[in-house]
């Protein structure tokens, strides 16, 4: 028992110093007006009152929820591709290697590349025009109707390879006797996936789903910063991006901290609902 706390001490020290204490500071400052330099003044719930009436914030929340609804797609694509690679379809080694390529690029590089590729005169639109589909050409990241869906697809591109690796690792831990026995019993196609693969991978799928949800709320800053800046208008504004703008562009540190507190509650709420849904309330 002493060992347990000894082993946990380094992690606890790091988390307290770099996570809990700053977060507590942010919570306190969300009740203040503060420019980050001069001493903060206590203003009670004024920041939260402003939050409730802030259209930009609600637009950002809406966009964040759209991203959460895309998590099953991000996860599903990875799962299907991992299954196909696991079945050793022709060329599976090549697919496994190339699918991982985006994972070694930083979001900044991915964003810069796709900004160039998705331009009005970029290769995607040129391809469409060559294929006689010029009517479908768009300035993908600069039109309000296409910006968010395009962002979703770029994120998919950036993250699906890591998902494939995670699921392959999970699949390799499933005893091959189980898979063979199921095959001998005649489990094929959808039945095989639904009753053998998904239950065997349940914990991996849960882990990756929670990871993606948290990540969609807290780690997309670089994509938005490089590709759209939250625009056009507020079409791709996310709460974490608004937080950055308020804190580091407008010096509204107090309001930014209120956004951070709201974001924290939002992620926590969504994750708790998600865990409840996934475990069916059984553990």
């Amino acid at each position: 028992m002493v060992f347990a706390f000894l082993f946990l001490a380094p992690a606890a020290a790091l988390l307290l110093t770099f996570r809990v204490v700053p977060a507590a500071g942010a919570l306190w400052h969300s009740f203040t007006e503060w420019d980050g330099v001069a001493p903060a003044t206590y203003v009670g719930g004024a920041n939260f009152a402003r939050l409730v009436g802030d259209n930009t914030f609600w637009r950002a929340v809406l966009n964040n929820l759209v991203l959460v609804l895309c998590v099953p797609m991000w996860l599903g694509v990875s799962l299907v591709l991992a299954l196909l690679i696991h079945q050793q379809v022709p060329g599976w080694r090549f697919f496994r290697a190339t699918f991982f390529l985006p994972s070694v690029l930083s979001p900044v590089i991915i964003g810069t590349l796709f900004s160039a590729i998705l331009r009005r005169d970029g290769p995607v639109n040129r391809g469409l025009e060559t294929a006689g589909l010029g009517a479908l050409a768009h300035d993908w990241l600069a039109e309000p109707a296409t910006a968010l869906p395009t962002l979703v697809m770029v994120i998919l591109w950036g993250v699906f390879g890591m998902g494939v690796i995670v699921f392959l690792a999970g699949l390799s831990a499933v005893p091959s006797e189980i898979l063979e026995a199921a095959r001998l019993d005649g489990a094929r196609g959808w039945t095989f996936v639904r009753y053998i693969i998904v239950p065997s991978l349940r914990h991996v799928i849960e882990f990756w789903a929670v990871n993606l949800v948290v990540w969609s709320f807290t780690s997309l800053f670089a994509f938005v910063y490089v590709m759209t800046g939250g625009g056009p208008g507020y079409a791709t504004m996310l709460v974490e991006y608004q937080l950055y703008l308020e804190a580091f562009q407008f010096n509204h540190m107090g309001y930014a901290c209120a956004l951070g507190s709201a974001l924290f509650l939002m992620v926590l709420g969504v994750v708790l609902i998600q865990i409840r849904l996934m475990t069916g309330g059984d553990d």
């Binding site: 028992m1 347990a4 706390f5 082993f7 946990l8 380094p10 992690a11 790091l14 988390l15 770099f18 996570r19 809990v20 204490v21 700053p22 977060a23 500071g25 942010a26 400052h29 980050g36 591709l81 196909l84 379809v89 022709p90 060329g91 090549f94 697919f95 190339t98 699918f99 390529l101 985006p102 690029l105 590089i109 991915i110 590349l113 796709f114 160039a116 590729i117 005169d121 290769p123 591109w157 390879g161 948290v214 709320f217 807290t218 780690s219 800053f221 709460v239 974490e240 937080l243 950055y244 804190a247 540190m253 930014a256 901290c257 951070g260 974001l263 924290f264 992620v267 926590l268 994750v271």
Partner: protein
């Protein structure tokens, strides 16, 4: 029919591979073009490939310093993670102690804090 479906599937996987390779090829080809050629011939093969951008990145862009910085941050980060996370994971998965689940949930809870919030109070 089965053959055809299989062919279609491999073709689809190939298309995904192409989508992951193309941006890297685009990056490499663009790096080999002069500024003028990039504007005139953005998507073709470079006609007069040049390595001048790599030289510039190294001398004026201070790439060496940045690579060294990355190497320091990554190696220290990986080493620390191994030790710190390994110890904590062992305690949580193999040792029995009161409050185990609470500690685990608290650690998970710290994951949902947006990095921007942390940055505000670390500057």
């Amino acid at each position: 029919m089965r053959r055809l479906a299989r062919l279609a599937m491999v073709a689809a996987l190939g298309a995904i591979s192409a989508s992951t390779i193309y941006p890297l090829v685009f990056m490499l080809l663009s790096a080999l073009k002069s500024k003028r050629e990039y504007l005139l011939n953005r998507y073709g093969l470079p006609h007069e490939p040049t390595l001048v951008h790599f030289a510039n990145a190294w001398t004026y862009g201070d790439m060496g310093q940045y690579l060294a910085n990355s190497a320091i941050v990554v190696s220290a980060g990986v080493l620390l993670s191994w030790v710190v996370c390994g110890l904590a994971a062992y305690a949580l998965s193999h040792l029995r102690f009161p409050g185990r689940r609470a500690v685990f949930l608290a650690i998970l809870g710290t994951m949902v804090i947006a990095p921007q919030v942390i940055i505000i109070h670390c500057t």
